[in-house]
Symmetry: C2
Subunit: 326 residues, 2 copies
Amino acid sequence: MVTMQDVARAAGVSPMTVSNVVNARPHVKPETKKRVLAAINELGYRVNAAGRSLRTGRTGTIGFAVPEVDNQYFAHLIGCVVDEAAQQGMRVAIEQTDAMRETEIEVVSTSRNRLYDGLLLSTAGLTDADTALLQVDYPIVLLGESLFDAPLDHIVMPNFDGAREATEHLIAQGSRRIAYLRRPDTELDPRREGYLEAIARVGLEPILIEVEGLDIASGARAVGAALSQGLVVDAIAAFTDNLAIGAVRGAADAGLRVPDDLRVTGFDNVPLAALSVPSLTTIAPDHSTTAHTAVTFLLERMAGSTVPPRTFTIPHTLIVRESSTR
Amino acid sequence: MVTMQDVARAAGVSPMTVSNVVNARPHVKPETKKRVLAAINELGYRVNAAGRSLRTGRTGTIGFAVPEVDNQYFAHLIGCVVDEAAQQGMRVAIEQTDAMRETEIEVVSTSRNRLYDGLLLSTAGLTDADTALLQVDYPIVLLGESLFDAPLDHIVMPNFDGAREATEHLIAQGSRRIAYLRRPDTELDPRREGYLEAIARVGLEPILIEVEGLDIASGARAVGAALSQGLVVDAIAAFTDNLAIGAVRGAADAGLRVPDDLRVTGFDNVPLAALSVPSLTTIAPDHSTTAHTAVTFLLERMAGSTVPPRTFTIPHTLIVRESSTR
DNA sequence: CTGAAAGCGCTAACAG
DNA sequence: CTGTTAGCGCTTTCAG
């Protein structure tokens, strides 16, 4: 391995000068700089990130822990975060937690994290009881659900309002038997609360269908099973776009067509939502604003900011497409 | 920051003993070990990855460079690779290259890579002329297209055979005006060659539709435009599932229904393929075998293997679904 | 079974 | 503008 020492020797300067050149610091005579660069090229020198990190205490990498990479919503968000971070000169390492509390805790607390200058944590499994675990000596920004309050910056989805608006839209379209396709495993779901509020406001009967997982197949199975068991509904508000797309498939399996027999709405506005057949009515959070705000908050903390923890609610719009209109 | 020194002092042992405990090495008296673990817990000690890396020369992280994270196919493959690597005790950092040659070169050659013990490179922009750039002092395994031959392990897609089989399937279904939805920017496309072979074998006329990008929207636009300009086809073999799903959308925009008016096949078998409406006939490469083989090859190289470069062709099957059958 | 010494590659602080 | 010194936290080596 070629070290700074080697380059310094070859160029007839000190390692410090090589360091100055490599880090583009001012006050290096052009002539010297040229000699150093030539030596770097000739020897094929690359700075050793471990040495630099050990010295500076920074790695230039932020971690991004997501429940699942293979999920339209997170895949898209990862793309946005990677772009945003790259603009600010940071790399992003992805950690997959499988939405499991243990894995999330492991990501936060094990040595792994020392490879990161900060962590974006899209948590799905942690609860109020775990907030103490989030008190670590590097910055964390929480992303996604707003299920508990740790003293950390927090980017939250417009869960309650978004789900309420989607449900109101279905009501306005004329649906009266509106089911909510609910996530499993948690009693705390602001989107369900939003749905329930809209339903209660006009005196309709709430109908809940529970899925096993958050993938498309789970949505298809749950809706297919419910319909074939004789459940009568004329609309479904799904917890996510993925589930909504699965619901369309499940309806097809039960011989129902969307939107003719059944209106469907999603949540997330993943890229596919605009392009599936039928295209999907959904709540669209602004993904790039999300990524931008999350990365900015984190970098500010990494730079030492001590302003009180902030909560940023992602702006959203209802996008009406084919799946809910006739 | 708590260091090994601190722990050693607190436990009344030497740093070396702490190291031995942390790394689960044998020959530490149980009693000593208990004392050390207690101190670690009390002080909240975490090993510093930079220090360890600097000393050992390894980081425990492999890089995975993909053209695009926000792409069904790669998102799914990333999930498989992360799982596979985790089983082997490795972390995965994702690099996004946007399929650009410059970015791919940057990933390979800049200092960034020193953070990785090895690199999985799913290349899309490099050509024969660039193979010299891939001669670096850490292992690289190439993934995906087989457009050039570098002296490296290479996992290749069953491009030619897969596309030929998909096209033959469309012919067997009765289609006679079969278009190939081709990727942009490259003259080298083994999938197109497979399509052309199948077409030529039965004396049909080849029809090529070119897309601008590889996302769903591009497929929709290209097919929608071609059909509305009067192109008459009764089947489309698409370069990828993404494009196929877009093609279904584009056909709908032009008033055609799949499979009634138009048969469609894809390539990749992304999770959505089974769950879209209509479900998508496609070539299914074995993703988990892909991930397993890629990670295994890379770890073998990292362990010092010097066997000649290997080429592994991913096994595949044709999965017939609704989009191509009436 | 445990410890002492040395050094991995880099850069902060200061001196010249 | 350039060099010297020192040390970041860890583990390898070898001695006890």
